[in-house]
Amino acid sequence: MQKRLLVKGNEAVAMGAIEAGCRFYFGYPITPQSDIPEYISREFPKVGGTFIQAESEIASINMLLGASACGKRAMTSSSSPGISLKQEGISYMAGSELPGLIVNIARSGPGLGGIDASQSDYFQAVKGGGHGGYHTIVLAPHSVQEMYDLTMLAFDLSDRYRVPAMLLGDSVLGQMKEALIPHPYVAPADLPAKDWAVSGKAGRAQRVVKSLYLGDGELEAHNWKLHRKYQEMRERETRCETAGLDDARLLVTAFGVTARIAKTAIRMAREEGLKVGLLRPITLFPFPDKAFADATARAKRVLCFELNTGQMVEDVRLSVSRDADVFFYGRPPGAGSLPTPEELLAQIRKHYKD
């Protein structure tokens, strides 16, 4: 039997990063993600990694930019207010076509907000949180196992496309413990060599990593190049989990921890004889729009469930079949409790039609 461990979500991210060969971490502590730097600072010395607790979030994202420019697998992690501080650096990484992993174990906002779980950073994550019209790859785990698996995938996708990747979790996923099977990392055989890395030019031509393009037409060409990469990712890299689509009359969609709540609510609805299906986006960018179009060719009612007042629902509305009705249920954090499966079940009953 494979080894099954009981692991905290944040630690699973750290374990996945180390297993995937990440040897550079730069960060600044913030609840509820500090288990990640804590774990890495303990384990990196054993594998020859470099851990730096920087003087600020802004310093740490720029250290990530630097390590990545040298061709190294590197990461940072933070939580919502800290991720806001990193946006300038993320934009520069996107402009410089640098890979790298940014982990957001989101808490509630706006501003300093609180430490409750929240999904209010969806817009910031998927629409390009900084300036300049870029995208990051955004992966949304919904279990401790996926915190591990998708951390590895994020590094691979980021390296493949030379686009920064974000793992978007929340304080429930970060703090909860579940079974983890820590399978070994296998690098995809077709990952391109980092023949752009500034690793010392002795014996070869100069390489330049930059986001400044002043030559006539250069910046437009650069932006078209970025755009083509985003289009290619939309074609090739969308991922989602579906269940019960064959006979579903109502489709529930949710990402991250709310998808977990949804799974139990759907099971309860099925026990009542309601034909309810699930579509859980795993990639938030690229968004699995075709999966929504296909599913709503049959199920004409969609209930989007989020831990905010309505963000992903906008992408759902853009993706579904024209004659599908999209409903929304969510609430902002701060009530001192999370929405329960029973609460969502009441919404399923409300919007269900045979």
Partner: protein, 186 residues
Amino acid sequence: MNHEVFMAGFGGQGILLIGNLLAYAAIREGRNTSYFPAYGVEKRGGAATCTVVVADGEVGSPVIGNPGAAILLNPLSMEKYFGRVRSGGLCIVNSSLIEESGESRSDLRVLRLPLNELALEIGDARLLNMIAIGAYAELTGAVSLDALKAALADALPERNHRFIPLNVQAIDLGAAHARAALGAAA
């Protein structure tokens, strides 16, 4: 079969430790489990709660609105959560701190145990959490007592492993009281 238990008390009563212990025991039995803690920023005295799900299939929600069982260790938890336990479920109540008030439910099995006093009887007030989890495991069969005891080595830091025998004793005491209560009810 799925077991969901909600545990609540104040920081320092060991709620998070027995939540962890139950989850480690479930892993030892090859089951699926989730342990979801929620607590205040205080180390002691604040509210501490956790939800543990033990399942044979996929664990769905780690958050449960109406759990099948609850372990309530202080009056505030009783006030807030007693009403939420699912009809037909089980509630273990720390009668040392929670007075028998107007709140009663005939649709639940309610086991009132003077956990503080029982813990003192075996030598340490801090063992009250282990007595509660022993009673819970005995009454629900969510995990075996053996798995619970074995999991002490996983849940406790190495430096505290010397206390394992005392904790085993507390788990057994809780289970014995649960069996006695069952016998009295039958």
